[in-house]
Symmetry: C2
Subunit: 195 residues, 2 copies
DNA sequence: GTCTATATGCCGATAGAC
DNA sequence: GTCTATCGGCATATAGAC
């Protein structure tokens, strides 16, 4: 309420916010550092004070969004011990998050497999940030509820089906809270994974 | 055998071939038109004689590879009428193709959802070229062998699971002819799709 | 169709005052 | 930390001879 509020002198965050919008809208290489700085309301000198190179903006953006996604997924989630039901809870939460964050959803779709992001950065995100998925898979396999396929294949499949689902809900935004479609998307996923 | 052979005076194709290699290796924007021309052994003037802009190179490349994939999929394929078995035949053929064409496989992974390719070009590829997938899905649904989920969702899921599979076999090239992994990848796909 | 030569504009990044 | 001013380079695309 107060006029001062948190008074974001946080130019660095403003740069990341603007970069997200422009990278999604125009693509990485079609976005000049000058345009990012302008949209963020800072000077180019300031931009390069916070980020050594343009690629560093992208790397930090990618990691911070993945981290935000993972944090959202594991916080306030009640695991009841039933793998299928827990998987459903997580799946719906992941879809919810994507729908609530259309810009970040588009960012995932565009850059999850792009060469604009260094391979080691993508690897870091997969290993350290998406670790909770690996754990769930292993737990399910021990209980013989998830199919006994190689872990790497299962993980890649999870990722691919999630991207397919959010691609669908991106292209059909009105179906985002249609129960039939949401349940279908989970069934598609779960039927693939289950033993 | 003969020294003259087909004597490729076909500079246009040489440009597309070089572009494929460079786009996969360095990314679209990190690849200069000058480097494409040099790798193809032609002058930049020649390049711009055949392609009005750099983006046109990408568009033509994308469409020609998708077309090549589709043509390969439907030619010399014996459909026996059993949906599951026909789906397996196509799936294995798709994996085979990807493994035999590592460059084009990487191209798919990198650019299938990239902003470097115009949306209408991607749409054109999906609709006209991948039409045989839609037909198979509809046929399977009529026979109640494929799950009665919305077509667009099923199609997107097919695409996503295929990309996941070739991503896996790209990262684990030694498993490309391991029957266990290949069958697992089809089971993962079919379990998702089946009624 | 293919080449050589070139323009011209924009981009990432730096210097240095405040 | 933030700004203004600016550089050097490179990339796309063109002009015009052959």
């Amino acid at each position: 309420m107060s006029r001062k509020a948190v008074m974001t002198t946080d130019k660095k965050q403003a740069i990341l916010d603007s970069a997200l919008q422009l990278f999604v809208k125009k693509g990485f290489n079609a976005t000049s550092t000058a345009s990012i700085a302008k949209a963020a309301g800072v000077a180019t000198g300031t931009l390069f004070h916070h980020f050594p190179t343009k690629k560093d903006i992208m790397s930090q953006l990618f990691l911070s969004i993945k981290q935000e996604f993972a944090t959202n997924m594991i916080s306030n989630t009640d695991f009841i011990g039933d793998i299928e039901q827990d998987a459903n809870t997580l799946w719906q939460k992941a879809i919810d998050w994507a729908i609530a964050q259309p810009l970040k959803q588009l960012f995932f779709l565009q850059y999850s497999m792009s060469a604009d992001i260094d391979a080691d950065v993508r690897k870091q995100a997969m290993n350290s940030i998406l670790g909770f998925v690996v754990e769930l898979i292993e737990q399910g396999k021990q209980q013989q509820i998830i199919a006994d396929f190689p872990n790497a294949l299962l993980l890649e499949n999870c990722h691919g089906q999630y991207l397919a689902a959010i691609r669908f809900f991106t292209d059909n935004p009105n179906l985002g809270d249609d129960d039939a479609h949401r349940n279908a998307s989970f069934r598609l996923f779960w039927q693939a994974m289950k033993a």
